[in-house]
Symmetry: C2
Subunit: 82 residues, 2 copies
């Protein structure tokens, strides 16, 4: 079993309304030091294989085809553990 | 400026419909090796301070009060960089 983690974030320059709303809520709670908030997704996958190299290549495909929207998002495959 | 990253994930045992839908979509695309998918949030914050220790304490408060729902979610403060 390979365990992997993919982090999908909005590209720089893409407006993040969820992050802005969170920043405003934090300010309202007294956390005025919060200068910026950006919110992304973390996708944790278990793959039914023991071949980490194959899994990494498949993960890249999954990201390109489904998990990230290349127009506005970028992704990083952060961990592939066998 | 302190840059921090918080990862918020659903607790074990909490149903993740978004993850299940993603798993089904991956299977439909031919990625039958995907045994489980769990989806969480990654929150990247810039804090207007240079005191990493103070920032870490404030971040823990923010998580407890706003960023995570302690009933169904757990959080990890993964990076606090000055």
């Amino acid at each position: 079993m390979v365990k992997a983690r993919v982090v999908v974030t909005l590209k720089d320059g893409v407006l993040d309304p969820q992050g802005q709303a969170t920043q405003r809520a934090l300010h309202a709670l007294g956390y005025g030091e919060v200068a910026e908030v950006r919110i992304g997704k973390v996708i944790e996958l278990n793959l039914d294989t023991d071949d980490r190299q194959w899994a990494a290549a498949r993960l890249k495909e999954m990201c390109d085809r489904l998990l990230a929207n290349p127009v506005i998002e970028s992704y990083r495959i952060e961990r592939v553990e066998g």
